[in-house]
């Protein structure tokens, strides 16, 4: 009995000890081997999150001649998916023909080492490319079109129209007005909130609209980072003031206690296009006919510009050839531009010509107050996303969590996490091979 236990323990310990080593050694060699052609006859494999499954099924139905295999990952995150691609390269086969993900994943999928993405510049018609307008820049890597954008997470100003009317407030237009109105609310209606600071999306909704350089690509592998720039410190000061006034909550949007701690007491917040249905309606259970949005906030005296929280995109494998490649390109075009499909999608389409139809669908839900204003806000914000913040292999949101959120959750000030946020941004950018400029 004792010996058995001992042996079992040893074996377990050794297996545990070596599994990482084994995993490491499995990805040993670096160069990708020549591509092995996937089965011919227009059959494709699509790797996407579970949310995208109905859309892919719709494509399959509309194109019965193309055989589609769907592989999914959980829509809560795809940590470690890069590992799969490293292993596909190692094996010289196995890549999905189409891959749905976000900007951070595009950054590694299009880099020289994983080198997965196909340049779609010449295969997607000019007219369709034009339909994406400004938002196609997300997909432009080193002058090549490495994906087609699926949806936008453009930041607008959400607020509770019912409470605003009752309290006699009108929605702010600038960040300065946002700060003073927040302080007013803190004074007149303590216990209500006008924002949250403790989640991975916080940099996207506060720093991005301000032009604060945390991931500004100046060349393919050169990035500008300076959290002490005035465009950053003005946000730091504003958030610190509002946190002190307890009107911006230190917790995060996705924390399990957010619905109870903040929930329906969130009277206003900058937030992505999907906040309405996903945060206010589903998570925070705010009753219908209360929530609406107005135009994105801008800094007084500066031109309009906003940020984006999330936004999916579709990549095509450069390993696909012939009929498969054609089918893969057809699939991403369908998935990003088909009106009927996009109207039924849950997220705001990046493709301009489909936006009105989508918005009409949103209006039919009947959930929102002052829908014409909301519609105008979302439509305008969609073309105002600043292009001086880019998706990089390091995620400023994650670093924000480890530094600023960590400081806030242990009761420290935002400023105490701020300089670590700055240093870690630089260190992590460098660890991925970026040259860093101030």
């Amino acid at each position: 009995m004792r010996e058995q236990h001992r042996r079992a323990r040893w074996v377990a310990a050794i297996v545990a000890a070596t599994s990482v080593l084994a995993a490491v050694s499995a990805s040993g060699a670096n160069a990708a081997k020549p591509a092995v052609k996937a089965g011919s006859g227009g059959s494709i494999t699509i790797l996407a999150d579970t949310t995208r499954e109905p859309a892919i099924k719709a494509f399959e139905k509309a194109n019965p001649s193309i055989k589609v295999t769907i592989e999914t990952y959980a829509n809560t995150g795809n940590n470690g998916i890069e590992q799969k691609f490293a292993l596909y390269n190692q094996a010289g086969s196995g890549w999905p023909d189409v891959f749905f993900s976000n900007g951070n994943d595009l950054a590694w999928a299009s880099n020289s080492k994983i080198n997965y993405t196909e340049n779609l510049g010449s295969s997607v018609p000019e007219s369709i490319q034009k339909g994406f307008g400004n938002n196609l820049s997300v997909c432009e890597v080193g002058g090549k079109l490495m994906c087609l954008p699926n949806d936008l997470g453009q930041v607008v100003l959400w607020y509770n129209a019912t409470l605003f009317k009752q309290w006699g407030y009108s929605p702010p237009k600038t960040w300065q007005q946002y700060e003073s109105l927040s302080l007013q609310i803190a004074k007149d209606h303590p216990g209500y909130f006008t924002g949250l600071a403790g989640d991975v999306n916080a940099p996207n909704r506060y720093l991005w609209p301000s032009g604060c350089p945390v991931s500004t690509l100046v060349a393919k592998m050169t990035v500008k980072i300076n959290v002490n720039a005035p465009s950053c410190t003005r946000v730091e000061n504003m958030l610190q003031t509002l946190l002190n006034a307890k009107v911006v909550s230190p917790i995060g949007l996705f924390d399990t206690d957010a619905p109870t701690q903040v929930g329906a007491k969130l009277v206003m917040t900058p937030g992505a296009s999907w906040y309405g249905q996903f945060i206010f309606e589903a998570d925070f259970k705010v009753p219908a006919h209360q929530i609406t949005a107005s135009l994105p906030l801008h800094w007084a005296g500066e031109k309009a510009g906003t940020g984006a929280e999330g936004g999916g995109l579709w990549m095509v494998s450069r390993h696909a050839t012939g009929k498969n490649l054609a089918a893969a390109i057809k699939a991403v075009q369908f998935l990003t531009t088909n009106h009927k499909l996009l109207t039924s999608n849950v997220t705001f389409p990046a493709y301009g010509p489909a936006q009105n139809a989508w918005l009409a669908g949103l209006g039919r839900t009947g959930y929102f107050a002052d829908f014409p204003q909301l519609k105008h806000a979302l439509k305008t914000a969609a073309s105002e996303i600043r292009t001086d913040t880019n998706w990089t292999q390091y995620n400023p949101g994650n670093i924000w969590s480890q530094t600023v959120t960590a400081a806030l959750s242990s009761g420290q000030s935002l400023s105490s996490g701020w300089s670590t946020f700055g240093t870690q941004l630089v260190q992590q950018a460098q660890s991925f091979g970026y040259k860093v400029q101030k």
Partner: protein
Amino acid sequence: MNRGREPLSAYLLTSPYLILLAVAGLIPAGYAVVESFEPSSGLGIVGGHGLFANYQRVFTDYRFDSAFLHVGEVLIVWLPIFIVIVVGLALLMHQRPGRLSRSVQFILYLPGALAGIANFVLWLFILDPTVSPIRFLAHGFGETSLDQVAQPSHLPIILAAMLIFLGTGTWIVIVFGGLNNIPDEVLEAATIDGASSWQIAMKVKLPLIRPWIGYLTLVNIAYGFQLFLEPSVMSQVTHGVISPTWSPNELSYTYAYSQLDTGGAAALSVVLLAVTMVIGVVVISRSKLLGEGRS
């Protein structure tokens, strides 16, 4: 007895283990050693030069010190308490054998018998103040969210609690085995000589189970240095408040699969291997784990 056949059967019996050791242990470890000296072209800083370039790069990584510090903190909090609890309870149960002792042993063993992942999920519920049955504790400290409970400075204590909860039962069984191994005559002789129960436990039993305590220490130190699953789950549920490169093993994983720097990952694995081997040698020689101890 046929003397000639004994070695053969011994080889036969150990062969599955030896094969597994080679395939899952020695060969990958050897490969990692080789790989750690090969020039690596990760995405990151092409730091260091010469034969030890990978090591140089890993040693100067800004996350290197903190990763080992974190593991050190966990070990300091966890191991002493764990060893005292396991050995103490085992001695107590051995002192008063019977139905009560056996049922307590069984109850303590239960958490360890559950699969690892199920245990962590259970722990997440215990830690989250919105759902926890012991949320009054968190609320007492003014903590209302998982991020506040699982903030980085609390992690050593949380992990220690987790590991004690998971491991105590299993290890009591093992140490108890050691206690059962003590010949009755020895204990009877001590009683006749007038030793109290306390004296028997401390002066007779404890020295005799030293190899078992050594084994307990060794395996758990090794486990501590390899912490991976627990902190990475914590990192995910806190939405990244706990760094995804919290432990050395996680850092190694990041090297391999985010930075695509296999040389650096291999170097870090070799460092871990070296550290645990040195500790292993010290513990084995001190506790006489592989010899003498049975006398």
